[in-house]
Symmetry: C2
Subunit: 522 residues, 2 copies
């Protein structure tokens, strides 16, 4: 399988930067090393210089976004867009093409509407999970939302990058409804019913009359999303987070078999997260608290971690929501099912969802859609404050065979690279994402290099088994795209045909997800 040759055109962002200062005001353009460095890949070793932002522009309005794209088209400079740029395990706000202008939408940060009747909100792309939560509480709304483990990211950005959360609306794409998009030529498109002026159903009905374009603007470089409808949920009478621990590593396979029917029939309605002992401990401690030897952590240390109270070789968080009698019955069903796994232990907490207390357990907060940063330390297993990670994330059916195959592949390759295996499985209704949370010390160049190399290697070995990444770090976006090879890469051909039609100058995020404009294809 050969990778394509690319030809990055030469460009000079200087004239564009000057014009942007005039058009948007000098405070909307950042050019100093200190300012621009916040848009770097946060975990790249300091001696590397890949994916370097050239300058940053921060528009505050849709009209300013249009102005940025007009200037970029006229000056033929690439513009790499992000909401908050907190997609850290995948490269943060950094551009695929070094020297590109980074457009951060952080200042487009308004919650435009909350519809209490239909439980929806309309937001701009700079709105963080924290912001939406604060807005709801300040407005006296009781509505619940969904958050990923870290609350500092953009709700829109996370959704567009296929992100997931852990409450009832945790399938973020399924709970997105209606977009406003600025196209490369500056034209403003509204998708679905929102393309009718004053549409009543713009944020409750996911489609319009005709094709639906929303999926096109996710993980792509076809437009800049400036508004998005989000579905929320009414507070449940009863909120019951659960915690399951497994004794043996091989119990994972049995768990997945027991779990699959509970997911498909909706008995468990959120997105459970299954993590291994190393990952679970990383929420509370650094690696050095357990082991400071070189190479992967020995099995006996992992067993020691697994033996801690509330821990196991694998643990799963999940939650039930709704009418108390129904939730109690679901608890019985779930307990009965998990009882078929020898040594499994399951415990529950129970809260009134309409009068929530302060929750101490970060996993219980996340599954109640309460944003926090408590789980940030999971990525600091190695190196303390210098800890970093890459997400190596494959989609699979919810089966024991698939779980074992991905666990064994990722553990094997990481350990061969001298790294610990921190494993996370996020389970949806019919699929799961196995995330190898590839943790390393960003100050340790050799270890960081090993982590990147292991990821690149795993992309290929996973593809041989039929597993594709659902998201990818800048460093291996092209390699990932390469694996989607049916009919001699028909999907990439299709994606690039759309790209050329919508963005003939190739200004929008060239290289995003391996989609390159015509001018870059050798």
């Amino acid at each position: 399988m050969s990778e394509r040759t690319l030809r990055i055109p030469t460009f000079d962002i200087g004239p564009a930067v000057e014009r942007l200062k005039v058009a948007l005001g000098a405070d909307a353009v950042e050019t100093t090393e200190a300012e621009v460095s916040q848009f770097r890949d946060p975990f790249q070793h300091r001696s590397w210089r890949d994916f370097e932002p050239g300058a940053a522009v921060l528009p505050s309005t849709v009209e300013q976004v249009q102005a940025v794209l007009r200037i970029a088209n006229e000056c033929k400079v690439p513009v790499w867009t992000s909401g908050q740029g907190r997609n850290n395990g995948y490269g943060g706000a950094a551009p695929r093409v070094s020297g590109a202008l980074v457009m951060s939408l952080r200042r487009l940060n308004r919650v435009l509407e909350v519809d209490e009747e239909s439980a929806t909100a309309l937001i701009e792309p700079g709105v963080r999970f924290f912001d939406l939560y604060d807005h709801l509480r300040a407005a006296g709304s009781k509505l619940w939302m969904s958050v990923p483990d870290l609350g500092w990211g953009s709700v829109v950005g996370n959704t567009l990058d296929h992100g997931l959360g852990y409450s009832l609306t945790g399938d973020h794409i399924a709970n997105q409804c209606g977009m406003e998009v600025v196209l490369a030529n500056g034209d403003i498109l509204r998708t679905g019913m929102g393309s009718m002026t004053n549409a009543r159903a713009a944020h409750v009905y996911k489609r319009g009359c005709g094709p639906s374009a929303d999926g096109l603007f996710m993980q792509s470089n076809y437009g800049v999303v400036t508004k998005m409808g989000v579905w929320l949920s009414p507070p449940p009478d009863c909120y019951m987070p659960g915690w399951l621990t497994l004794r043996k590593d091989s119990d994972l396979e049995l768990l997945l078999e027991v779990l699959r029917p509970l997911m498909i029939d909706g008995t468990i309605p959120n997105q459970p997260m299954i993590i291994n002992a190393v990952c679970a401990m990383s929420a509370f401690a650094g690696r050095e608290d357990w082991y400071d030897g070189a190479g992967p952590m020995p099995e006996e240390i992992i067993e020691k971690i697994a033996a801690q109270p509330g821990f196991g070789r694998w643990v799963m968080r999940f939650a039930l929501y709704g009418d108390e009698k129904i939730v109690e019955r679901q608890r019985e069903i779930v307990q009965d099912a998990f009882g078929r796994i020898p040594g499994a232990e399951v415990s529950f907490s129970k809260y009134d969802g309409r009068a929530m207390p302060e929750l101490e357990n970060p996993h219980e907060r996340v599954q109640a859609g309460i944003p926090s940063m408590a789980l940030d330390r999971m990525t600091r297993w190695y190196g303390g404050e210098n800890g970093g990670h890459i997400g190596f994330s494959c989609a699979a059916p919810i089966t024991g065979r698939d779980g074992a195959a991905l666990r064994d592949l990722v553990r094997g390759e990481l350990e061969a690279a001298g790294l610990d295996y921190s494993g996370v499985i996020i389970v949806s209704k019919r699929s799961m994402i196995h995330v190898g949370l590839v943790v390393f010390d960003t100050e340790d160049e050799a270890q960081a290099s090993n982590a990147y190399a292991a990821c690149r290697s795993m992309v290929r070995s996973a593809a041989k088994l039929g597993y594709g990444e659902y998201r990818s770090h800048l460093d291996f976006m092209d390699l990932v795209a390469e694996q989607y090879d049916f009919n001699d890469h028909a999907q990439r051909r299709f994606n690039e045909r759309i790209k050329d039609a919508l963005d003939p100058n190739g200004i929008l995020s060239p290289g995003k997800q391996g989609i390159w404009p015509a001018t870059y294809r050798a």
Copy 2:
């Protein structure tokens, strides 16, 4: 609001037909009046000659689909594709451009896979709801599926046209996963994870890495879908269909207010259908059994129908599925909620979903995903065997205000046109579709003309109130597209830019949903 001027190019399908006979075999091409007439709009008055198929081609394989498109490109003839072409209230299999070649995919009728573990199937576009059901039963599968009221249509075609069903997987688009598409240039695209050869997650994970194209191939003319993944559901322990009757016409508003929270929180997990007295009676009787006067049926006759046992001014079918104790608790919650509507009566049946008896009530069959044709007579209110209908179908939030606005608008305009108001509301999690089932006698030219004229008028008056159609009859596809007018029809501009990029010769279903190729735009 002015409609666009279109310029239909002249074309001659004769040479293409001859080449198709050679390439596919003579039995795959139909040219006689008797053969071709089955692809006409089934309810058009016999003296009209709009939307006339020129000839029909019936490929049996993906390679034959490619051959058809190759010949159509070379001969520059339009090809109007359908699965079964049973979309009768919207024009059936008839092409928007008269004289076009109709490509029916009826012979691509294989169920390619059923995955019992993940509860999915992979099917071709000629597979009818009947076929998939028969396949599952013949294979000994217990899996349930979703069906619309009539079982003769294509599962793929219904999904692509935003169709709905009434069991747990009744949101057909939400339960579609992975497509194979032949593009206008003959290239074969697989969407999502299926674009990786031997992908494990092709039919369980709805996206790939990069943009998702599936929505583009729905209600559009961008490609020919030749395979589609469909989600099924395990049989519920308990199946409990319910039937609610309302005494007064104005109770609809209160019902929608009571229903909305039950839909959003999932207490009612299927897609309830609310129908008015005329529509409910049309399943069992013809209009002449109740009234044979001219003009709309008088209020006192409607009241008489509503007073029949099991009837009301409005009735709603809905269903609960799952663990018996949970279903029993849901029944209590639902009964309690509907108890707040004075005069409302609700009744339930209860079945073991794993050992289903033969169900006599067609509404109970539909909600169990069992295909039938029993409800076909609903469209024969006028004119007996000559009865026809047009669907006038708007999306709206689930509120009393929206329900009343659509009811009053549609009833008012239909009665002004001398027609009865047969009203259907299909309710989803956060939205509803109000279908004016515009019924008429296809042999009565004046009545049929009035029905068409009323629909055209309602498109405009609904748009003024902010309601757009979710689907439309051939006769007013352009008018509907015209209403999606935000930013001077940015969505149509976008749709046609994609069209021109994917189908430069404009061969695929020109005019579908108001999307015209460059060669047709004056």
